[in-house]
Subunit: 465 residues, 2 copies
């Protein structure tokens, strides 16, 4: 596919850099085919482009050395967290070294008085939350996969809780990073806000490793709410469900999660998770607050839902029922794959203003039906963000072409609605053409920043641009 | 003073650019001394450096033309909103043209369904809120002054509501801007979140006009809460008040405002606003929510306050009493000036992790007493941010030197506490040396970005760097 066109390789530089790295890092440098391929991609649908070596730093100083060595020999560096990104972010189209941060997995400090913590980039979100639980704290960003926090920052991840708690951009207070010349910088400290100079924190968040390697994150934490209430409600149409969402947000209900499953997704969840939900569009919700606060939120939502034809509304605050509901939501990818056994999934995401959401989802459903694609939709609809999972036979060039045409059509539609070609997956290799469509000449200035900070283009080349 | 060292002037280029601009803009270009001086500074304490001319664009196209003309002749451009910034942001140390955006003051769109709006940069926050009131919406950021929204974005402003609603960085969805080469870009659209490329929105927010001119803002709005409750509570010490704040935040009470006035500030408020508050540290608070929600928040805070020796706790939801309380808070600058009639005020701000706040405020009080400065303190303490107003005789070089020494000492202290040299005032001319102390080599990369986007250094030169 065109998305991952190979780039010119600097054979001599890569070979020299790997030679030096091997001397320095011994068996923390690996060149076996399977580990290289595993680091080229994991959950992405874009064809694998394996790096030439994988190196495992233990410290920021190690990262700085690796980057300095690669910079001296003009060899590409591809930062790697858990490989759960979706747009080919960890492919190596120009070869080079995958920098696997999984050994940098320590929680360095938790400051309960300040509701913040300092972690290494290889800590996963589940590990962090396990670490925090005893202190009554949690880190809210949940993109589904048990991704590393460094990777989540690099891709500006968000997920189900973003409607209340924001995305990674809102929950990273500051970063330590190794820049493309090997220098170690701090973008800020632990103050809750600052007007001190350019916002390098937010520049590195979402830069997909193209401007530097994140080596430490200072994150905002939240107290585990006194009460958590989950709810579900079925609707006669996607339109009705989306209108209920819009009204919920307008009412200022501080809903913690509000997720849409379309008819097809509900059918998949019923089959896979042994549920018996009405096979019409469904909203899954979660409310955080005091006992009375969370109950009041759920009750107000129930009233709104009724106005839009919602039925079968059920709220629960028992942990068992909550977990069952959200486990089904988390299993949606696997559940949907069963809608067409043997098929492979292409997950694509867009995000639009919430007033256009119903129209966008409905048109996407009609389009996939029209071109004969099985394409269930789930979405973080409080933000206007949804995912279409295209179930295709990767061995059929016709199906692949139809899927690519659908992705292009959907991205153009979202952009035409004042939306974005990606709410949370990032650009990587897969969405480069849509980025240019969406932001036009602004990308010139992104490229100028890239050229200024990484003049050799060694940091994750072939991504974003 | 050293902060505003004059820079080399490009006399020929400035003269040529002004000549062309005069032909093009006729009486929308002004060169009278008083209007030039007024545009050099207003509320800052740094000495005036007037621009050579002031130009008043009506449209983005005008701005693009002005910037193109200045770029062609290497003449500085200083974007100007309302001139309410505090660190010499609108001074013209290399001369050039002040670009006054006050005529670009239209609200272009309000989208109640999406809780967003699109405004020109000269719209002030009070104008916007007046415009929105009938629709039950408001824009929460309140830095005190009735600043322009373009200026608030450029300085990453925040203020009393930031503890709940965030700062400008959190409430700007996207921007239109004219870049230093005259090109017009859009940094994003109206989706609530996006992972599409580098975050140019957050790069321009806080760049203080050094990377481009903001010509349009898409802003996040909020519904006016069903219920607003205000409260005040006196404490035996700054330490006790700060501990109550820390506990309030840790409890997850979504307090909308939580402001500290130290003993001296309370005395000033009593005298100026005809109040009779106990002259001990005071917290002023505001709670937003449903009727029961806001009341519950106030009640929970009351219990916390009691644990820390709080007394004289009074909550009210009548608008008259609320307005009286917050009017007194807004008048603090003028009230404090009366503590030493004839003195001039130097307002400086720092921000520290909330666990260090009590210590930082207490040390600041002791230091100002030690060196004989009258220096009342007020703060947005939910964020760990506070302001010291130094009341000095500007004609006394000794007093000025003592004030400068105090500012330096306080900034060093905040930085040593993992904090920042400015929570919300920005760097401008006044804090450049502290930025370097705070962020070290990270400023090298800021300078590289500046050089890449503005190679001639025509956009607000002499600020930040």
């Amino acid at each position: 596919m065109a998305q991952n066109t190979a780039l010119p390789r600097n054979e001599t530089g890569i070979e020299t850099a790997i030679g030096i790295l091997r001397q320095r890092f011994a068996d923390r440098l690996q060149t076996g085919q399977s580990i290289r391929e595993q680091h080229g991609h994991t959950t992405t649908w874009i064809e694998n482009q394996a790096p030439d070596a994988v190196v495992f730093p233990d410290t920021t100083q190690d990262v700085s050395e690796i980057v300095s060595i690669c910079a001296a020999h003009n060899a590409p560096i591809i930062p790697f967290g858990t490989g759960t990104s979706l747009e080919g972010h960890v492919n190596a189209p120009a070869g080079g070294v995958s920098l696997d941060l999984s050994r940098m997995n320590r929680v360095l400090a938790v400051n309960p008085d300040d509701l913040d913590c300092v972690v290494q980039p290889g800590v996963t979100r589940e590990d962090l939350n396990t670490h925090l639980r005893d202190q009554g704290l949690f880190f809210p960003i949940d993109p589904g996969a048990n991704a590393s926090l460094g990777g989540m920052a690099a891709t500006r991840a968000s997920g189900t809780n973003a409607v209340r708690y924001g995305t990674m951009k809102d929950n990273v207070l500051s970063l330590e990073a190794v820049m493309p010349d090997g220098q170690i910088i701090r973008t800020g400290h632990r103050a809750k806000k600052s007007s001190a100079g350019y916002d390098l924190t937010r520049l590195l968040v979402g830069a997909e490793g193209t401007l530097g390697v994140i080596t430490e994150l200072t994150l905002r934490l939240h107290g585990i709410p006194e009460s958590i209430t989950s709810a579900r409600c079925s609707f006669p149409s996607v339109d009705a469900a989306c209108r209920a969402v819009m009204m919920t947000i307008q009412y200022g209900i501080p809903v913690a999660r509000i997720e849409l499953l379309d008819e097809l997704s509900v059918r998949a969840a019923n089959a896979y998770s042994g549920l018996s939900l009405p096979e019409t569009p469904l909203l899954l919700l979660e409310f955080h607050g005091s006992d009375t606060g969370a109950a009041e939120q759920a009750e107000t939502f129930g009233q709104i839902a009724e106005d839009f034809g919602g039925s079968d509304f059920a709220a629960t605050s028992t942990m068992e029922e909550r977990n069952k509901l959200w486990q089904a939501r988390h299993d949606m990818y696997w559940a949907c794959l069963q809608l067409r056994p043997g098929a492979q999934g292409i997950s694509t995401d867009v995000c639009v203003p919430i007033s256009r959401l119903a129209e966008c989802v409905t048109q996407a459903q009609a389009k996939s039906a029209e071109i004969g694609l099985v394409a269930p939709i789930v979405g973080h609809v409080g933000d206007g963000n949804f995912h279409t999972l295209l179930l295709i036979d990767r061995n059929s060039p016709q199906e692949v072409a139809r899927a690519e045409a659908f992705v292009g059509w959907l991205n153009d539609l979202a952009i035409s609605m004042d939306g974005t070609c990606t709410g949370e997956h990032g650009i990587g290799q897969g969405k480069r053409t849509y980025l240019a469509k969406e932001l036009g000449s602004a990308t010139t200035y992104m490229a100028a920043i890239k050229a200024a900070l990484d003049p050799q283009n060694i940091m994750n080349p072939g991504k974003i641009f």
